[in-house]
């Protein structure tokens, strides 16, 4: 504050900086001439610092606003209101004075306004986006947290139950099964796609085969297809008389053929594999983008040192794409934990509770059981879980780099 006052009282040094950086450039071109003529030496602030200082005392002297006014802009306006007191100004060409009178704000913008200099200003810029974010993310989140403390069917009166919904979850078999399944799905949604994606990306980077773009597109294609279509297609593939079982029988593996989505042991891996197939392309594309940034001379140097493709991969490729790996993991782990559509469309959480996941439990509790409180509790736990796991992944990624 002290520096601002000083700057306001007089041109100066500190007060000038914000103007120079924020409003300086546009003013310089449009308002430059004007300010030079009107405020003359006085309000000529940054541009004409030496003459300004010289002429300042007499100008501010008669007007008792010097120490009171913090900003050049405001003091200038004040002066316009009392032109009679400013004898120097009177002597200025009438034309220029008229210009300022007509457009006082132009002069006022000269120095950063109170708003611009305020510490709150950056947040004002954030505000519009924050309002949208708050309305559609924070508010629902807080509301969900609030709902989780109530027993409420979604309409009518509610009963406050404190943390009882959370306590109940701890011994709720369906919920625990859902969390367990979600953790298993991380293997299928995140770990396997990462391994496969790394290998594929490394091959594509080295590969000099024709039609590479075609293969890349094919592997990325699942990401483009609507999930409903993916689920319906895979449901048919997994059907007892579907292509997968036909293929197994054709090669004599009759013992392996089964109703994949109806077999309690096979259902979760079967759903998980769809996830692997889905996420593989995304991970590959991310890693490929990372790998394309690695300078070729690194590989050349490695080759000159006698490194084979495998050594090259572990020594150069892998460390270089660490950032992309973290991004890929974050994205795919979130996808694994919040997966809903695939489960809903393929197995409805069955057989038994073999493939139920937290998101499905949220839907099921809120819309089938009409236990909005319990559903919100599951959602909050899921959110915390997603958050915790991803903070962990990101931290590990940051530390490693």
């Amino acid at each position: 504050m002290a520096s601002e006052q000083a700057g306001g009282a007089r041109p100066g040094s500190t007060g000038g900086t914000p103007l120079g950086s924020t409003g300086g450039t546009p003013l310089g071109s449009t308002g430059g001439a004007r300010s030079g003529s009107t405020g003359g030496a006085r309000s000529g602030s940054t541009r004409g610092a030496p003459p300004a200082t010289g002429e300042l005392p007499p100008a501010t002297g008669p007007v008792p606003d010097g120490p009171l006014v913090r900003r050049g802009g405001i003091s200038a306006r004040w002066r316009h209101q009392r032109p009679a007191q400013d004898t120097r100004r009177r002597r200025r060409p009438a034309g220029s004075s008229a210009v300022t009178r007509r457009r006082p704000s132009a002069v006022a913008r000269h120095r950063p306004s109170a708003v611009v200099r305020s510490h709150a200003t950056p947040y004002l810029f954030i505000l519009p986006a924050f309002v949208v974010y708050a309305a559609f993310s924070l508010y629902p989140l807080v509301r969900a947290a609030q709902f989780s403390l109530f027993e409420w069917p979604g309409f009518g009166p509610s009963t406050f139950v404190g943390l009882q919904n959370y306590v109940d979850l701890a011994s709720d078999a369906a919920f625990l099964a859902a969390i367990g399944n979600a953790l298993v799905l991380i293997v299928f949604y995140a770990v396997l796609p990462l391994v496969i994606g790394l290998v594929l990306a490394a091959i594509f980077r080295r590969g000099q085969v024709r039609g590479m773009g075609f293969f890349r597109s094919v592997i990325f294609l699942p990401q483009v297809i609507a999930l409903v279509v993916v689920a319906v297609a895979w449901r048919n593939i997994y059907a007892p008389g579907g292509p997968l079982n036909e293929a197994l029988r054709a090669v004599g593996l009759d013992g392996l053929a089964r109703g994949w989505l109806g077999d309690p042991g096979a259902a979760l891996p079967a759903v998980g594999f769809i996830g692997t197939w889905l996420e593989m392309g995304l991970v590959m594309l991310l890693l490929l983008a990372g790998m394309s940034r690695i300078p070729d001379d690194l590989f050349e140097a490695a080759r000159l040192d006698g490194a084979g493709p495998v050594r090259e991969f572990f020594a150069i490729t892998l460390p270089s794409v660490r950032g992309e790996i973290v991004v890929a993991l974050v994205l795919t782990i979130i996808a694994a934990l919040k997966t809903f559509d695939l489960v809903y469309l393929t197995t409805s959480g069955g057989p038994g509770n073999a493939t139920t996941v937290p998101s499905y439990e949220v839907y099921f509790r809120a819309f089938q059981l009409r236990e909005v409180g319990s559903a919100s509790a599951v959602a909050i736990v899921l959110t915390l879980l997603v958050f915790a796991i991803n903070v962990g992944v990101t931290r590990i990624g940051e530390r490693a780099s």
Partner: protein
């Protein structure tokens, strides 16, 4: 250094917002409808205006879920006729799928701008909850004024009756009126039976023998696609009636206290289901087969029998033609024909409906005898006069006659998942595990009993 204040800012504003909200009213308390003691009220018969023409210029808001071909055609025709008869009433109809309507109903009813006529699922989780929250109109007065109790069979109306506190299901005030009927029965291929040298089973023993005979002849006796969990309920329902007296099933299925899933009869029924599954009567992997794939397979010649709902008839007939037949299950253990079935979703009137009298008139209109004829004409199954309105041939003739026989002389067993809000999931998972052999019938009975008894004890 810049990071801390920003976090502090975001954190504190979020926290401030959160505190404000938590301090604000509890969820739902501002709904402005109904009391927590439940039971919406309804007018007495003498207060009801039964002449829609006397109601003045009004718009009637109708929400239904009859989006499929025959049902949609019937409703559209009925609305057109209704508006022609009563030009002072404009019907503003919103139709959406069952799932969409079910999910919106709860929100819609708690708002202030409610529809006048709304289709509400009979189940405890839906109609029961709304009755408890006082969000529906008691139709008893209208029923008296319009004579609905003479028009409908008791077992049909019972599926829309709840006590005002929603503790008892099947008795008490009337909250909705259905328009169409549904019944689970046995589809069979006439030529397949002929090849096996069998007659349509006259008793459950005949049916068991038929299943064995089909297996010996290398045919899959029963077709079931149970990937979605609920289809097995439509097989188990009729089967259960062979072992368990129908009144006990009704008690169990309506979630009223006083019955027991773990008694011998119920365990025997579950055991029969498990035996069928273990012997491969349902094919290799009924739990891995989708419902729609299963009946499509049946039309292409897989299997001899398919136990399922009447809604499958027209689609399967389109492929199989005259070869497809339908029959109600044989008489159950207490000598009457009892099978899972029911009605289309009942039409109800929200407690806050602005035009309740006009809504009742509309409901009366679309369930009248002429409406039933129109529904039958369009290919739906009317809930009333079903046998009279049956087509002269085809599978729908069988279905209509079966429904009529069950709904008038037999017992229309409620869907088992009406019992408790969570029973669809509990029973679906339990039956899947019985069929898959992952749980013993007695253990499954325990699971079902746990859900049922927890609910009946709590209500």
């Amino acid at each position: 250094m810049r990071r801390l204040p920003r976090r502090l800012f975001l954190g504190s504003s979020a926290a401030a917002g959160g505190l404000g909200l938590l301090a604000a009213c509890a969820p739902g308390s501002d709904s402005g409808s109904g009391g927590s003691d439940g039971g919406g009220s309804g007018p007495a018969a003498s207060d009801v205006e039964t002449d829609p023409a006397a109601l003045g210029e009004i718009t009637l808001k109708v929400w239904d879920q009859e989006v499929r071909g025959a049902q949609n055609d019937a409703i559209e025709a009925l609305i057109e006729a209704f508006q022609k008869d009563y030009p002072n009433i404009t019907v503003d109809r919103v139709s959406q799928s069952f799932d969409d309507l079910q999910q919106q109903t709860g929100l819609a009813l708690s708002g202030n701008d409610v529809p006048d006529v709304l289709q509400v699922n009979n189940a405890r989780g839906d109609m029961g909850e709304f009755v408890k929250a006082g969000q529906l109109t008691d139709l008893s007065g209208y029923a008296e004024a319009y004579g609905w109790e003479d028009r409908f069979a008791d077992s049909v109306l019972a599926k829309a009756r709840y006590s005002a506190d929603a503790v008892t299901f099947g008795e008490g005030p009337l909250w909705g009126l259905p328009q169409t009927g549904e019944v689970c029965g046995i589809y069979y291929s006439a030529t397949k039976l002929e090849t096996l040298g069998a007659e349509p089973p006259a008793s459950w023993e005949d049916l068991f023998a038929l299943v064995e005979a089909a297996q010996k002849a290398d045919e899959q006796p029963l077709v079931l696609g149970n990937l979605e969990q609920w289809p097995a309920l439509h097989v188990f329902g009729p089967l259960q009636a062979h072992f368990v007296p129908s009144d006990e099933i009704v008690t169990l299925a309506m979630g009223n206290a006083g019955a027991d899933w773990t008694d011998d009869a119920n365990v025997q029924a579950l055991t029969q289901l498990a035996d069928w599954a273990a012997s491969g009567a349902f094919g290799d992997s009924p739990n891995g087969l989708a419902y729609d794939t299963a009946w499509a397979d049946f039309t292409k010649g897989t299997g001899v029998l398919l136990i399922g709902g009447s809604w499958l008839g027209p689609d399967m007939e389109a492929v199989m033609g005259e070869d497809l037949r339908f029959m109600a299950p044989p008489a159950g253990t207490d000598g009457t024909v009892a099978t899972t079935g029911g009605t289309g979703l009942p039409f109800a009137i929200p407690a806050q409906a602005a035009q309740a009298d006009a809504a009742a008139a509309y409901i009366d209109y679309i369930t009248s005898d002429t409406a039933m004829e129109l529904i039958a004409d369009k290919g739906g199954m009317p809930v009333l006069n079903t046998a009279d309105l049956a087509p002269s041939s085809g599978v729908n003739k069988d279905i209509y006659e079966a429904f009529d026989a069950v709904s008038t002389d037999g017992v229309l067993l409620p869907y088992l998942d009406y019992a408790t809000p969570s029973f669809a999931d509990t029973a679906g998972a339990a039956l899947q595990e019985v069929i898959g052999g992952q749980s013993e019938p007695s253990a499954a009975a325990e699971t079902l009993q746990a859900d049922y008894s927890e609910f009946t004890a709590g209500s």
